[in-house]
């Protein structure tokens, strides 16, 4: 198409400028700063001395950092894979339903997703409350000893992971449903004519055709869950934050509770790099898996 490139550039500049300004101010600049202060001993606010790699070296034998790293990994493991699978199962169930009925059931599964984390926290803290939670009455009734879910080291992360799955599954369910809807009915009809059983149909048709969505859900979940903070913070209130330490929480603690901006930034950089590496790696891995399938 015939274009007047000078006007076009000018217009482009005008259109891109607002975003670029905010992007530079609220994203690029803080990112650069984060890297910079991670090499200093700055407090949260104010300048610090250049300490080189000191902050990073100290992480190496910082038990709290290790715990944070481990807990984060543990949490990711417990949310991402089961979360994806559960969402898939739910989506498969919901996709069978029709019309209004489907809308209602979907709403039941989806509602948690649109709630603020603090509401989710209050609801589950209440539901699983060790003294008064309804879940404990159910356990009593089943003759199972009560479980102090958010107060014990063993149960805390699994429980928060469970709540997180409950909270975020709606998103994945919708993606899966969109994926399922995009598989033409004819494919299933062809499979039926091909004598395919329910299980074969799932394994040989649905699952492979859903793979791109599955990997998308997986990636989104992974990036999201590595950033875990809100739930752990909230459920730890009046509990055992140090046992439940995760990376972002550690950044928060170092920076905002202990006023060690530089060291916090080093943790933040670690997280930053971790997320980027993991998502790049995972992207490659999934691509590889897909290629092998071909």
């Amino acid at each position: 198409m015939l274009r007047n490139s000078r006007t076009e550039r000018l217009v482009a500049l005008v259109l891109v400028a607002p975003f670029l300004a905010i992007y530079l101010l609220a994203f690029v600049y803080p990112t650069v700063q984060m890297f910079r202060i991670s090499f200093t001993d700055a407090p949260l606010i104010g300048a610090g001395r250049w300490v080189g790699l000191d902050n990073y070296l100290r992480l190496d034998n910082d038990p709290m950092f290790r715990r944070a790293l481990w807990n984060t990994a543990y949490f990711v493991l417990m949310t991402v894979v089961p979360g994806t699978l559960i969402a898939l199962l739910i989506a498969l169930g919901v996709s069978r339903l029709k019309g209004r009925f489907q809308a209602i059931v979907l709403a039941l599964f989806f509602l948690p997703y649109i709630l603020p984390v603090s509401v989710v926290y209050l609801i589950w803290d209440w539901t699983l409350n060790f003294q008064f939670g309804i879940a404990m009455h159910v356990l009593d009734w089943l003759g199972i000893p009560r479980v102090p879910v958010f107060k014990s080291r063993v149960w805390f992360l699994p429980a928060v992971a469970g709540v997180t799955i409950w909270w975020t599954a709606g998103f994945s369910i919708l993606l899966f449903l969109a994926g399922l809807r995009s598989i033409p009915v004819e494919i299933y009809e062809a499979a039926a004519l091909d004598n395919s059983t329910r299980w074969t149909t799932f394994r040989r048709i649905t699952w492979p055709l859903l793979w791109p969505i599955t990997s998308l859900v997986f990636t989104i979940q992974l990036i999201l869950q590595l950033k875990i903070f809100d739930q752990v913070y909230l459920f730890s209130i009046g509990g055992r934050p140090n046992d439940n330490m995760v990376l972002v929480y550690y950044v928060f603690q170092k920076a905002f509770q202990q006023n060690q901006g530089g060291r916090a930034a080093a943790v933040a950089v670690t997280l930053f790099v971790l997320v980027v590496v993991v998502s790049v790696l995972q992207f490659q891995l999934l691509r590889f898996a897909e290629r092998r399938r071909r």
Binding site: M1, R9, A12, L15, V16, P18, F19, I22, Y23, A26, F27, P30, T31, M34, L44, I45, G93, V94, R96, A103, V105, L106, A107, L108, F109, L111, P112, I114, V117, S118, V119, L122, I123, W126, T127, Q131, F132, H137, W166, L174, G179, Y188, L216, I223, K227, F229, D230, L234, I237, V248, A255, F256, G261, A264, A268, V269, L271, F272, V275, V280
Partner: protein, 280 residues
């Protein structure tokens, strides 16, 4: 499929449907339980047995949540921040998405890759420097301060670009032949043609902002400046059993988004799939 549904898959199909239903009810039960509990008086809340309906329903907890906390102010803050972030984000993202999709200018590819890359970057890693930045700008405890770091949603630009890419170029050319200017094309053709996307993206952006916790929690110290998501974690008012009061505050905080969802269910679900880059 009807014949099959009618015949051999019928039995297992029925079981699966039933299981899905039961599961859905269990899934949503905590929500129900939260709402029901918030309607119970203090002594009922902590009864040691399951009571699916309040014996003496009361709004006392809501009244107390509304009167003893600054929930009104929190609402105003949340609405202001969420609306502000939504409008600004949508607007700048649309402009930027349009430019990247439709215009040729130096640095376009670089910009596009930057935006794609920042999709992966965890903003929560930036809290320290966001805090420093907003503090230096003197914006702590202000709407602008709560909004600023939340204005970066690369995914919205990505979705906009994809949509603008999909507009057949015929429209652009038809408009050019109709003597429309570049801004005319954007605001009179592309923007109105994609109202659906804009609404959908606005809805998700609103939900995200309304639900944001970490940053509002960090950047606000004054109770009256808190957003509702942060505010309700502060409702630990005096006297005895406070669970119901907390839950009533939670219900109040969740209600607007929940209602919005129930009213615009189709739009919201569409919006969510859109935000993941899938066309619904």
């Amino acid at each position: 499929m009807n014949a099959m549904a009618a015949q051999r898959w019928n039995f297992w199909g029925g079981i699966i449907t039933a299981l899905t239903l039961v599961w859905a009810i269990l899934w949503a039960f905590p929500l129900y339980w939260g709402v029901i509990s918030s309607l119970k008086p203090d002594d009922e809340v902590i009864r040691p047995y399951i009571e699916l309906w309040p014996e003496t329903p009361t709004l006392e907890n809501y009244i107390s949540a509304l009167t003893t906390t600054q929930i009104g102010a929190w609402y105003v803050n949340s609405v202001a921040v969420a609306v502000g972030v939504t409008i600004i984000t949508i607007f700048i993202s649309m402009l930027c998405g349009y430019a990247i999709s439709q215009l040729r200018f130096p640095g376009r590819i670089v910009l596009w890759w930057l935006i794609l890359a920042s999709f992966m970057v965890p903003t929560s890693a930036l809290i320290i420097n966001h805090f420093v930045l907003v503090a230096n700008l003197g914006l702590l405890n202000s709407w602008a301060g709560i909004m600023l770091p939340q204005l970066i949603h690369p995914v919205i630009i990505i979705v906009y670009k994809q949509f603008f890419d999909q507009v057949p170029k015929d429209f652009r050319e038809a408009a050019v032949m109709d003597n429309a200017s570049e801004f005319g094309i954007l605001f009179k053709i592309y923007m109105p043609m994609n109202w659906g996307v804009t609404t959908a993206l606005s809805i998700v952006c609103f939900i995200w902002t309304w639900n944001a916790f970490l940053w509002p929690f960090l950047s606000v110290t004054r109770t009256e400046m808190m957003t509702i998501t942060v505010g309700i974690t502060q409702v630990n008012d005096a006297f005895g059993v406070y669970y119901a009061r907390q839950l009533s505050a939670a219900v109040l905080a969740g209600l607007p988004v929940a209602l919005a969802y129930l009213f615009f269910q189709r739009r919201v679900t569409e919006a969510i799939t859109l935000s993941a880059g899938i066309k619904g």
